[in-house]
């Protein structure tokens, strides 16, 4: 595998190892040469700041290996295909239609959805069970597509808090394992980033993008709002919601913001399809399984 990205990260991460005190005078000379810790962090930021699309996809692939490592996909090919159809159609309305968009439902009863750079999107089975129609799903997928389109996760990694982790992982990977170096380097930052979550403003922005992408795709624009109304009535300490509620603004705040952004503008698109029948057929198997 490998790419310019890993090279950047590994070279610069070597220096992080030095900062950690595992090198001698040569390392000190190197550090002086690149301008100490500040210079190092600046270089690391530049390394990720110039990520090209193929590298972004490679990174997303690596992050998704860890996300699907937490819970694998639901064994239901028709459901997986269905979610890919809806997702591909919604993503086609974005400014990055050429990305190889991939969607999956993971076998988790928790209610959540995740996006990784390059177009990898995971929705939990618990979320699928909570949604009522395809317009709601389009809104939820549109929100995740919004994170990818605006590179929210890439930017979060660049902000520095994750750089030490990425660097340490890359240094470890370069020192030891064979193959999958980037994946190994990404394990730490992935866990940290996806359990901490993005900035609230990124989430509000993704809601507005999800709204518009679902509307562009021809759906009832209130799908996302409707799904948030379902989330808003669930008790905040429900264990199935813990990670979602920790990593996102509360659903009522999101609804208030979304309501302000929607105003009456989207009334033009009322009476657009919700496709509840098609959605219910797609989730019939997982819902039946949950009842047995």
């Amino acid at each position: 595998m490998n790419s310019r990205l890993l090279l950047h990260v590994v070279v610069l991460a070597g220096a992080i190892g030095i900062v950690a005190g595992c090198a001698g005078p040569q390392g000190q000379a190197f550090m002086d040469n690149i301008g100490g810790v500040d210079g190092l962090m600046k270089n690391l930021k530049q390394a990720t700041g110039t990520i090209k699309e193929p590298e972004e996809i490679e990174m997303g692939h690596g992050i998704t290996e860890t996300l699907l490592g937490a819970r694998p996909m639901v064994d239901d090919a028709e459901l997986q295909r269905y979610v890919n159809f809806v997702g591909a159609w919604v993503a086609a309305q974005s400014e990055r239609p050429q990305l190889p968009w991939h969607f999956a439902v993971n076998d988790s009863d928790h209610v959540n959805a995740f996006a990784a750079p390059g177009g990898y999107i995971i929705v939990t089975k618990g979320m699928m069970n909570l949604l009522q129609n395809e317009a709601e799903l389009a809104g939820v997928l549109g929100h995740e597509i919004g994170h990818v389109v605006r590179k929210h996760h890439l930017n979060a990694i660049r902000k520095g808090a994750y750089m030490n982790l990425l660097g340490a992982g890359a240094a470890g990977a370069a020192a030891g394992s064979q193959g999958g170096e980037l994946v190994n380097a990404l394990v730490g930052p992935t866990k940290e980033l996806y359990s901490r979550g993005l900035d609230k403003d990124d989430e509000f922005e993704a809601d507005r993008i999800g709204l518009v992408l679902a509307t562009r795709a021809g759906y009832d624009p209130w799908g996302l709002a409707s799904s948030l109304q379902t989330l808003a009535k669930i008790k905040p300490d429900d264990k199935y919601m813990a990670l979602l509620f920790k990593t996102h603004p509360n659903p009522s705040d999101r609804l208030d913001r979304l309501g302000t952004a929607m105003g009456t503008t989207f009334d033009t698109y009322s009476n657009r399809p919700q496709n509840a029948d098609r959605f219910q057929r797609a989730v019939a198997k997982i819902r039946t399984a949950a009842l047995n």
Binding site: A70, H102, V183, V187, L258
Partner: protein
């Protein structure tokens, strides 16, 4: 026989969906009640803040409601919330919201499933699973396939700009 059970379960789900449509909510603020789901429709009354309502149906940005005082009509979807205005009072569990975990008709046991988690702990304990990502990538749909799927669902692409936090249209910076 298995099929019969499957259909019965599906029927139960549909009745859950129907029950879902009959759920209750409350107004966030003083709200006009309209005769029809349109901005310029006739007002049939007004509800105060935190008025309890029963949801009858939904259409686009409007919810058809019935209030305690028998007032019926349409209010803006985003001027109400589902559930109770007091979060301490009867909060809904996920299982209830989905319609699972309820007593089955005929007195069967309460439905429970083993928790398959994606909690913070599950995430922290995760090991990369390359095979699953390869599997995920096999489901990718080409653009032509997506367009066909959209047409079959009666979906027509629209031209709509992004909106900012205040609802103003914005141009996309490429």
């Amino acid at each position: 026989m298995t099929r019969t059970w499957t259909w019965m379960a599906a029927g139960l789900l549909l009745s859950c969906a129907a029950a879902h449509a009959q759920e209750t909510g409350y107004t966030l603020r003083e709200t006009e009640v309209k005769a029809k789901p349109f901005l310029d429709a006739e007002n049939v009354g007004k509800l105060p803040e935190k008025a309890q309502v029963t949801v009858v149906s939904r259409q686009g940005g409007w919810t058809q409601i019935r209030a305690d005082n028998k007032l019926e009509g349409w209010i803006r979807l985003l001027s109400m919330r589902l559930g109770s205005p007091d979060p301490q009072k009867k909060p809904t569990a996920v299982a209830t919201a989905i319609g699972f975990g309820k007593q089955r008709p005929g007195g069967g046991p309460t439905v429970t499933t083993g928790v398959r988690g994606f909690s913070e702990e599950d995430l922290k304990a995760a090991k990369p699973n390359p095979e699953e990502v390869k599997k995920m990538e096999t489901f990718t749909i080409p653009p032509a396939g997506a367009a066909q799927f959209a047409a079959a669902g009666g979906l027509n692409a629209q031209t709509v700009s992004y909106v900012d936090a205040d609802g103003k249209f914005v141009k996309v910076k490429k």
